[in-house]
Structures are given as structure tokens and as C-alpha cells.
């Protein structure tokens, strides 16, 4: 990071590898639990107990069964940061690190909104305790929460918090990839998180974007909306040289990243998926890959009528004649839409697919939408997987695509 006008611009690209992975999702509290759940094709929706949903149209989501916070330092962390801490800690530990100096890049959309909700409710009362309100205002701020997270992890360096709605987590990993690829950083801790909260849940309900049944059916012809979820995913990215120098085990390689902006509408994608096509093409070009070399796409696949048709059209246009060979699924069908955490958690799920050599499924599909001229994976199955692509698209038109591979499988 940093810019100095008298320093030469980076001119050499570095290979970027994944040496640490961590995840918390409704499917499980770590990498192995998630791998087992997706391998078995489990669905992880349950009634919401975090806030009152009695007057909402929908009452279920992918809710994480979070253990209590034990450490004193972490006691002021909000629910989302708690999940982020668990996932980041797993990523560092699996990389064989216990902290250190490195940039941290994090994606979130709702951040510590539950604390903001609490501040609002107390502000309406004349009896609100000033000291407690100050604490709520302070800990509502995402950067305060993430600074605390870094302190607990003993990770210290420049921090970026990206809030590009549902693409935030993918953007965070993409930013980290670029920093290492260009030689601006040796290693970066990157990921994304979001917790369920009342404001956001009611917001999606007000848009009638939630599936009334509570069960999302991405790419089903009769899909009727998404389900929300919560969780966090983190990766430790390093230059291949830095990883080799410290004898780290390489879990995967990051080959490409594309980002673009869909300006069609604040909440609706271009129906032809123009920006998605742009990011998939850009990521493939950076990776030096043709679409036919991608073994699996973890799609954005929300289960809303408009998203899935746009993404499906983008995949068709991107893959061309190879479209029938492309395996596609949406793991939101099993855990819900994790918003700012989605892109990071789905990156981890893509790494699970690579490491465990199976295709996670799009669950609950009864009749596939005609746009599915690709192979829609409707049940988990073993497969030889060398390269995976994951899409993340967000409110406001933030589009991102990442490509991971087994080491050396360019």
C-alpha cells in the first residue's frame, strides 16, 4: 500500500496463493464442518430467534448457533464481528500464523447494525444512560469493531473496510489479491462478514425479496425469492515466494479477479447480465483461462427472479459453446444470502470444492429455469476440480468475480 511520487510503479506480477482459510456459517463453525455439511447436501435454515419476526411475512433464515463470547476484550464485539473473529482466527491458525504485521481488508454490508438498532431504541427514551449510549455509538462503528478484531488477533497494519453491499466480501479478497500480485504487500488477511439484524431483514421483506416459504430455490423456474443468512469467511493470501520462504502449506492459488459496476438500477441487475459478463471475462483474462477450463461456478444465485436470469444469461454469453460443460450451483440454497459476508464465505466454499473434490449443490430445485443451459448441480457429487470461479453481485451494481485453482493449475 502507500504511494510515493518518486517510487517506481509496480511492474512485475507475483503469484498469489491461499495459505489459510476460515469460515463460520449456518452450516458449521469451521472449514471441516462446512465441508461435511455441503458434501452431505444439508440445508441450514431455522426459525429466527435473534429478533421479533412475528409481524414479518417470513420467519426463517440461516442463523448461526454462535457460542458465547468468553474473552473480556471481545465482550463488546457485535455478533458479526464475533463470527469474523472466529473465521479470521481459523484462517491465521491454518496458515501457521499467530498474528503479525500485514494489511487487513474486510467486507461488510450491515456491519454492527444490531448495536445501532439498540442505540436508536434507547435514544427514544429520556432515561437513556449517557455512558452506555456513548459505548453503543462507538461500538456501532465498523472500523472500531475491526480495530478491536485486529487487536485480539495481534494483526497490525493498514485496514480497508469495503462496503459494496453483497459483493463486499469478494471485493475484499480481490483487493488483497491485487496488493500481493503487484508486490505492494507480501501477505494480507482478507474476508467478509455480516450478521442477521432486524433492519436489514425488514428491508428485504419490504422489498418482497424474501421467499415466502423461507426456502430459496435458486435457478428454479418458480423461484420466489431469497433467504437471508449470516456468517464470515476469511483467507490468508500470500505471495508464493513469501509462502515458500516460511514453508507454508499452499491450499490454493488465486488466478484472477474482475470488478465492474452495473448502472442499470439501484436494486436490479441489467437483465442481460452485462456487468457480470464483464467481471467473469476480466477474471478469466487475468487468469489466462478460457471458460471451458473452469470446472465449477459458485454462482451468486440468490433465488430472486431477476438475479438468476441475469446471471444465467451472463454465464451463457461468457461460456458460449462450452456452456453445457460448465457446472454451476448456488450454495445460498443451503445457507442463505450472507450479504457482505457472502462473497468471502462462497470463496471459502469454492476452496472446499477444490480441496475436497466435490461439487456443492443447488438445493430445493424442482424444475430448472430454461436459462440453465449449463449443468445445474442439484445434488452434491464428486468431481475432478482444478479451477473454480465464484460470482458476487450487490445492490448498487457492485459486481465481482474471483477465480481459484489448485496450486499450479493455471
Amino acid at each position: 500500500m502507500a504511494y510515493f511520487s518518486d517510487s517506481p510503479s509496480p511492474s512485475q506480477f507475483h503469484r498469489v496463493v491461499v495459505t489459510g482459510v476460515g469460515v463460520v456459517s449456518p452450516m458449521g463453525m469451521d472449514f471441516e464442518e462446512n465441508a461435511a455439511g455441503f458434501r452431505e447436501g444439508q440445508s441450514a435454515f431455522s426459525p429466527i430467534t435473534l429478533f421479533d419476526v412475528s409481524r414479518q411475512r417470513v420467519g426463517t433464515a440461516g442463523q448461526v448457533d454462535l457460542p458465547p463470547i468468553l474473552s473480556k476484550t471481545a465482550s463488546r464485539m457485535d455478533r458479526g464481528t464475533h463470527m469474523a473473529l472466529m473465521a479470521a482466527r481459523e484462517a491465521l491458525a491454518s496458515a501457521g500464523l499467530s498474528g503479525g504485521a500485514m494489511p487487513v481488508i474486510i467486507g461488510t454490508s450491515a456491519a454492527a447494525m444490531p448495536i445501532g438498532e439498540d442505540y436508536y431504541k434507547h435514544a427514544l427514551s429520556t432515561r437513556a444512560d449517557r455512558h452506555l449510549q456513548l459505548r453503543r455509538v462507538e461500538t456501532y462503528q465498523a472500523q472500531r469493531q475491526m480495530t478491536d478484531l485486529c487487536r485480539v488477533l495481534d494483526v497490525h497494519g493498514p485496514m480497508r473496510i469495503i462496503s459494496n453491499a453483497c459483493a463486499s466480501g469478494a471485493n475484499a479478497i480481490g483487493h488483497a489479491f491485487h496488493l500481493i500480485r503487484s508486490g505492494r504487500a507480501e501477505r494480507v488477511l482478507a474476508g467478509g462478514y455480516d450478521a442477521l439484524c432486524q433492519l436489514v431483514f425488514a428491508g428485504f421483506d419490504s422489498l418482497q425479496a424474501l421467499s415466502p416459504s423461507g426456502i430459496p430455490r435458486p435457478f428454479d423456474a418458480a423461484r420466489d425469492g431469497l433467504a437471508l443468512g449470516e456468517g464470515a469467511g476469511f483467507v490468508l493470501l500470500e505471495s508464493a515466494t513469501a509462502a515458500q520462504a516460511r514453508g507454508a502449506v499452499v491450499r490454493a492459488e488465486v488466478l484472477g479477479y474482475g470488478a465492474a459496476t452495473d448502472i442499470h438500477h439501484l436494486t436490479q441487475p441489467n437483465p442481460e447480465g452485462d456487468a457480470a459478463l464483464c467481471t467473469m471475462s476480466a477474471a478469466c483474462e487475468m487468469a489466462g483461462l478460457a471458460p471451458g477450463q473452469i470446472d465449477y461456478i459458485n454462482s451468486h444465485g440468490t433465488g430472486t427472479p431477476l438475479n438468476d436470469i441475469a446471471e444465467g444469461r451472463a454465464i451463457q454469453r461468457w461460456a458460449g459453446n462450452d456452456v453445457g460443460k460448465i457446472h454451476v450451483s448456488s450454495t445460498k440454497s443451503a445457507i442463505g444470502h450472507l450479504l457482505g459476508g457472502a462473497g468471502a464465505v462462497e470463496s471459502v466454499i469454492s476452496l472446499i470444492a477444490l480441496e475436497k473434490q466435490f461439487l456443492p449443490a443447488s438445493l430445493h430445485v424442482r424444475e430448472a429455469d430454461p436459462v440453465c443451459t449449463f449443468d445445474l448441480v442439484r445434488a452434491p457429487r464428486e468431481a475432478h476440480i482444478e479451477r473454480v470461479l465464484t460470482n458476487s453481485f450487490g445492490f448498487g451494481g457492485a459486481n465481482a468475480t474471483l477465480i481459484f485453482s489448485k496450486e499450479g493449475a493455471r
Binding site: R55, Q56, A111, V137, I161, S163, A202, G203, I263, C278
Partner: protein, 337 residues
């Protein structure tokens, strides 16, 4: 690669446009205070604030901005001023690839406040029009739509020093060739909830609002970005230690030709860290927050604009901008002619 600031735009309590901002800075007179009042438990809670004046608004006419809250309208006006009509037309015609980086701390508080109030009253009838505008990246999305730009667009949540994170990312995009130029924008709006929240930190603090935008590009211009070091994180040190470390990293010494634009807001407690780090500074110095109030994400962006204009008008040869954030980082930059 050399990167220059070739456009600036501002919306502040001083008025719409950079000239209004500079006029207030030259006069040393704070714009008129107003107050936000709300009933609470049979009483009236009144909070002094510095608001953007309604008259003289320069928000571009654009369909997506009709339903937005002030944060997006301020940002669009600042961007239009920073780019100017010719560059706007070039971007809209697809001749220039311009990225948008939006830094903020508070975000779309007006609609969030209203929407959550509706949810508390009856979530079944909460407005679907309000909710999308509560999302942090809604304002930056409107800017890309206004420009007709598909280039990268990122929203960064930060503390008050975060505008430098945006400038750093812009430099990265420009150096990498992802964009021909890049807007770095910050915008904030206030409501009773956020204004009262600020006063919890210091009852003397005055909440402010507005927007600021700079346009960075590799073309030659009068204001060059010289140094933009990594921010000093607050995760492992105090604000005072971080502010001192930043001064060390910037390696600057006061002289008649150098202007220090700091983030002091007039609060003894909040300013102590930065004042301690820079108490030996012998050169020119200005503290825009003492006149313009605490605009959170925007205030540092306004510091950059004030520094940039001082160089452009050859009042000084070099300017140092520093910001001591509340809970993430201390950061700064050096601009030169």
C-alpha cells in the same frame, strides 16, 4: 508515476462550491449554527448543528437522485464541480474510464432512521423505497450511474481519517491502469440521531454535513500528490503514539512555504493527541474543523481541498494534511506544486 489533483468540488455549511468554502476559511468566521429539535418524553431535545444551506444547490438533474437523501445530492454536486462539464461529457460518452471511491463514516442516516422507525412501528408496512437508500454504497452507485461509468466503484467505511485510504486506493487503480482517472468522494448527512451521538463524545462538538470530491489523474497539473504513507493503525497503540508516528513517517519540518492542515476541531480532549504530535510545528497551520464543524468522513476531504487550493493559488509550495481518526488510524499526505 506522478499523480495530480486536477479537480475539486465541495458542498459545506459555507455553501455550494469550493469558492464558498475558501471564502469562509479566508474570513475565519464560522457559518451560522442552526439546531435540530425533537420531542422526547414531553421535553424538547435541541442539538446545535452546521447544515448545508438549501439555497444555491447545484445538484445535477438526474432521475436516480430524485428520491435520494441529502448525502447523495451533496456528493453529486461535489463530483460535478470536481469534474467540470467537459470532463463529465467525456466520461458519459465513454471516452474516459473514471473510477469512484466513496469514503464515509456515518452514511445514509436519514433514511436509516426513518426506515427503522417504520420497522419499529409496523414492519409489515415499512417503505420499500427507503430501504435501498440505507445501504452504505447507494450514494456511490448513484455517482457511477450519473457518470454512466462501469469502471470500478468502491465504498470504504472508515473513521475521520479514511479519506486517505480512498486516495491510496485511487493511486493503486491509476498506477495499475484500471482507470484513466479516479474520483475520491466523501459525503455525510446529519439527523438528530447522529448529531446527538457526536455530542456524546464532547458536548462542545458541532455536527456538520456536506461533501467533498477530488479528481486524481496521471496528467500534469498544478497540485501533485507527493507522499501518501500507510496509515498508522490504532490497533496496537494510542492515538497520541500514532499521531507522533505519523509525523515521523511524513518527515516534514515547518517553514514559511509549507502549510499544515490538521484535523483539530477545537475540543481540548479530542485534539490532544494531534496537538501533542505537532506542537513544535513552526510553519503555517489551519484547522478547518474549527470553522466548519465535525463532518466525520467529509472533514478530511475538505482539508485536502483546502491544501490543494493553497498550492494551486501559489500561497504555499507544499502542504501537509494530517488526520487523527477516532478509532481506526492516523493518516496523512503531502501535496506539492
Amino acid at each position: 508515476m506522478s499523480i495530480f489533483i486536477t479537480g475539486t468540488g465541495a458542498v459545506t455549511p459555507a455553501g455550494w462550491g469550493v469558492p464558498a468554502l475558501l471564502q469562509v476559511m479566508a474570513s475565519g468566521q464560522r457559518p451560522a449554527l442552526s439546531s435540530i429539535e425533537r420531542p422526547c418524553g414531553g421535553e424538547t431535545v435541541s442539538t446545535p448543528v452546521l447544515r448545508v444551506p438549501a439555497e444555491g444547490a447545484t445538484t445535477p438533474k438526474f432521475a436516480r437522485l430524485r428520491r435520494t437523501s441529502p448525502i447523495s445530492k451533496y456528493a453529486a454536486a461535489a463530483v460535478a464541480e470536481a469534474l467540470g462539464p467537459e470532463r463529465m461529457a467525456s466520461i458519459q460518452a465513454g471516452k474516459l474510464r473514471v473510477g469512484v471511491i466513496f469514503t464515509l463514516m456515518n452514511g445514509c442516516v436519514n433514511y436509516s432512521n426513518r426506515f427503522f422507525g417504520e420497522v419499529m412501528a409496523d414492519p409489515a408496512v415499512a417503505s420499500p423505497i427507503l430501504f435501498p437508500e440505507t445501504v452504505f454504497n447507494a450514494p456511490s452507485s448513484h455517482l457511477s450511474a450519473l457518470l454512466g461509468s462501469h469502471s470500478p466503484n468502491d465504498t470504504l467505511i472508515t473513521d475521520g481519517a479514511g479519506f486517505f485510504n480512498g486516495m491510496d486506493l485511487a493511486a493503486e487503480w491509476i498506477e495499475r491502469g484500471d482507470v484513466d482517472g479516479c474520483l475520491v468522494v466523501s459525503s455525510e448527512e446529519i439527523d438528530w440521531l447522529s448529531a446527538e451521538g457526536l455530542q456524546l463524545y464532547d458536548p462542545q462538538a458541532i455536527a456538520s454535513e456536506g461533501a467533498a470530491a477530488i479528481y486524481l489523474e496521471p496528467a500534469v497539473g498544478p497540485v501533485k500528490l507527493l507522499r501518501l504513507p500507510d496509515p498508522i493503525p490504532l490497533s496496537n497503540q494510542s492515538r497520541a503514539a500514532a499521531a507522533a508516528a505519523l509525523r515521523d513517517v511524513l518527515q516534514v519540518y515547518g517553514d514559511d512555504d509549507t502549510l499544515l492542515v490538521d484535523s483539530a476541531c477545537g475540543s481540548t480532549r479530542l485534539d490532544a493527541a494531534e496537538n501533542s504530535a505537532w506542537n513544535t510545528w513552526a510553519g503555517q497551520r489551519c484547522s478547518p474543523r474549527t470553522l466548519l464543524g465535525e463532518g466525520l468522513g467529509v472533514s478530511t476531504a475538505l482539508q485536502v481541498i483546502i491544501a490543494s487550493e493553497a498550492i494551486k493559488t501559489k500561497r504555499v509550495r507544499k502542504a501537509i494534511i494530517v488526520a487523527t481518526g477516532a478509532n481506526q488510524q492516523c493518516a496523512g499526505a503531502i501535496l506539492g506544486g
